[in-house]
Amino acid sequence: MIETAVLIACIILVLLTFAGLYRAIVGPSVEDRIVAINMIATKVTAIIVMIALLTNQKFFVDVALVYALLGFITTIGLAKLLMKGKLGKWK
């Protein structure tokens, strides 16, 4: 019962991710794209955890942790690039 519910939630999350990808492609400004990519990273983390629990592959949970870290680093790096124009040290 719960397996079916988690599978349905996983499918809904995939559809929502593709709906959010519209803003990442069309988005009029750079910040819109960064916001959309940040949201997609959070959703994909949840999807990876659900797939790990559904398929009993326990080490996929660590993959989800690494993916969350990568999404955070990407967002921070892009925001800093927007602010400073380069990826150097903070002045």
Binding site: S29, V35, L82
Partner: protein
């Protein structure tokens, strides 16, 4: 007891899906960057929290659920930080006049 736990897990998953859905609708329909950020970051934090809490309750008290709790805490720390960084960058660009004037509105609004 099992049925009650299952119903609670289903409620958590359903609420998490609702918050994710609201975040995506806000991302697609809101007029400019800051309101889009307002919709997505808050609803993403809440949705991820509810979904992960449901999965933790489903797994019970194991090593995997501790790992999921670690991911949840990580998301709860990093998501507002990333939102703050994006908002600061967007505000600085807006103050410098670098943003497009009609970029605040688009065809979906």
């Amino acid at each position: 007891m099992e049925v009650v736990l299952n119903i609670i897990i289903l409620l958590f998953l359903l609420s998490g899906m609702f918050f994710f859905f609201v975040g995506v609708v806000g991302l697609l329909r809101m007029p400019n960057v800051f309101t889009r950020m307002h919709a997505t970051t808050k609803c993403d934090t809440m949705g991820a929290g509810l979904v992960f809490a449901g999965l933790i309750m489903w797994q019970g008290f194991t090593f995997i659920s501790a790992n999921i709790l670690l991911i949840l805490i990580f998301v709860w720390i990093t998501n507002p930080t990333a939102a703050h960084a994006i908002a600061k960058a967007a505000y600085q660009r807006l103050e410098a006049g670098l943003q497009l004037e009609e970029g605040d509105k688009d065809d979906l609004y």
